[in-house]
């Protein structure tokens, strides 16, 4: 590889494209690598609307959102490699060595800064301990979405959906519109996981029943699925005996969670946050390894693509600055302090704040629904540096707030973010 690049972006979905646009806009020489034949990532198959409300002030579809960002990139000197798969990522003295494979052969590249925008995977049936037979006809929701929207194939004729997250709800509607009978959506928790808007427009509009505190316990069928047994569960998600029911179906759709995809980082010993399942980063989206940045769903699973784009823009800008200024790694970390989540917070990002860095954008989720919540950020002595109230916090809806880094005193050792339910 003869060309010289400052920043390599791994992944050409919404996070990677936003990162490439931001880095290139700052004057960095950027190479973008995408394993599929076309850019766009998951947006290509997300044909429903609701994207872009924050970024563009309109509700547009996934493909439209992806197209707008690709148009931005068209005007910039980003070198794009499609059908190119990263096989190895290693540290070098002044940066990283990357090895790729593509239909043209192998490729090797050395760069000072890398941004991983590798997205996430769907949790499979194997990982949620579905008992019973192993027939065909079981799909994850995203897999089914790809079949219907890209490959002109229906997964089946009569289906049961496990999981009331947004992707499960969206597929309940999509399949119904294409003539599939959706018998019901089953959710193991006592509250739905997806947005209220989707409960109304994907289930209520089509009279598709939602069964809470109920899960699929067993699968029946030899070659093709013939039925499932569902059962009621208690608040600890244990089966309540005597409350199970057999449902005939030829398809089971699973919408049971997303997992950030970061296997390529295994050899680098990057610290992975156990709450987000992605690398722990500072407010510049930089991991514990100098010059290695991450953004989008690879870092933590987002609800809104608008936030994914924002994290990509932050990473792109920071990676361009890092590779351009030749900032010595040690300087990037002196003055960095951890952020701890307490109280009713399920998790928050970023996990580290660089006191010499830019104003951080925080994202957090509540552990449980609350009508009124009080968020406060304090230092290790308990002094409150920031606080605000929220109405109607729900786990599926991630919240965002910004903070001025100058609000944090220079000698602070630790930040503690706390969420508690406020009195009525």
């Amino acid at each position: 590889m003869n060309d010289i690049f400052d920043v390599a972006v791994i992944g050409g979905g919404p996070a990677g494209i936003a990162a490439a646009v931001a880095a290139s806009g700052r004057g960095a020489r950027v190479a973008l690598f995408e394993r599929e034949g076309q850019l766009g990532g998951i947006l290509k198959q997300c044909i429903h609307d609701g994207f872009g409300l924050f970024k563009f002030g309109e509700s547009i579809t996934g493909p439209e959102y992806g197209y707008r960002y690709q148009q931005m990139m068209r005007n910039l000197p980003v070198k794009i490699f499609t059908s190119t798969f990263l096989t190895e990522l290693r540290r070098r003295e002044n940066g990283f060595i990357l090895k790729f494979v593509s239909p043209q052969g192998t490729l090797e590249l050395e760069v000072p800064a890398v941004i991983t925008a590798t997205g996430c995977r769907e949790r499979s049936g194997r990982q949620v301990f579905l008992h019973g037979d192993r027939p065909s006809g079981i799909f994850t929701a995203g897999q089914a979405q790809g079949f219907v929207n890209l490959y002109n194939a229906l997964p089946g004729r009569r289906c049961v959906i496990l999981g009331s997250g947004d992707i499960g709800l969206i597929m309940a509607r999509r399949l119904t519109l294409e003539g599939v009978k959706v018998e019901g959506v089953y959710e193991i928790k006592s509250e739905p996981s997806g947005l209220t808007r989707n409960i109304v427009q994907c289930l209520e509009d089509f009279s598709i029943p939602l069964h809470l505190s109920t899960t699929v316990r067993e699968i029946h069928g030899r070659r093709r699925i013939e039925a499932v047994t569902v059962c009621r569960v208690d608040e600890k998600m244990r089966e309540i005996p005597g409350f199970s029911r057999r449902i005939e179906c030829d398809t089971l759709i699973l919408s049971v969670g997303l997992i950030p995809e970061n296997e390529i980082l295994d050899s680098l010993d990057v610290f992975i946050d156990p709450d987000t399942h992605g690398p722990r980063v500072n407010q510049d989206q930089m991991t514990g390894i100098p010059g290695l940045f991450t953004c989008g769903n690879a870092q933590h699973v987002n609800d809104l693509v608008d936030y994914v784009s924002e994290s990509g823009e932050i990473a792109g800008r920071a990676a361009a600055e890092y590779s351009g200024t030749g900032n010595h790694p040690v300087n990037m970390f002196s003055g960095s302090i951890p952020v701890e989540s307490t109280g009713e917070l399920l998790y928050q990002v970023p996990g580290i704040i660089n006191l010499k860095g830019r104003d951080p954008v925080f994202y957090f989720r509540t552990r449980r629904t609350m009508k009124r919540g009080e968020l406060s950020l304090s230092d290790e002595s308990g002094r409150i540096l920031y606080s605000r109230r929220y109405t109607f916090l729900r786990p599926p809806e991630m919240e965002r707030f910004t903070l001025s880094v100058s609000a944090i005193p220079e000698n602070t050792k630790k930040l503690i973010l706390n969420l508690k339910e406020a009195g009525l």
């Binding site: 493909p63 890209l150 002109n152 294409e178 509009d205 729900r394």
Partner: protein, 120 residues
């Protein structure tokens, strides 16, 4: 009396909507803001929806093109719209915004492409 969940913000107010004493008058209770009242009234009288789906193309490599209505259509027109869409076969390349069917079903909106197809 109908109970409708407002979807305009995460509050998800459960709003009661019942016919009032005179003709067109409706009584609305349970909303926390005026936008909610407007939304619930529309949902009660004439619910409208964006329709997003795909149409067939003549390609075997990219057999579907994502499309959507350029504006909301009455909820009861969703299945008739799907029936009409099943008859469409796209033959020319398209980018988001290209009109696939003008004045779709005479509802005053177009059926437009929301995806990219390079013709292959």
């Amino acid at each position: 009396m109908k109970r409708i969940t407002c979807i305009l913000c995460p509050r998800g107010c459960s709003v009661e909507c019942s016919p009032g004493l005179e003709g067109d008058d409706y009584r609305i209770r349970g909303n926390s803001c005026p936008k909610g009242a407007d939304y619930v009234l529309e949902e009660m009288l004439k619910p409208m929806r964006m329709l997003t789906t795909t149409v067939s193309t003549i390609s075997t490599i990219h057999p579907r093109l994502p499309v959507r209505t350029s504006g909301k259509i009455p909820r009861e027109m969703i299945f008739p719209a799907m029936k009409a869409i099943r008859k469409i076969m796209v033959e020319k390349p398209a980018v988001p915004g290209d009109v696939v069917v003008e004045d779709f079903l005479e509802l005053g909106i177009d059926l437009i492409s929301s995806g990219v197809w390079n013709g292959c």
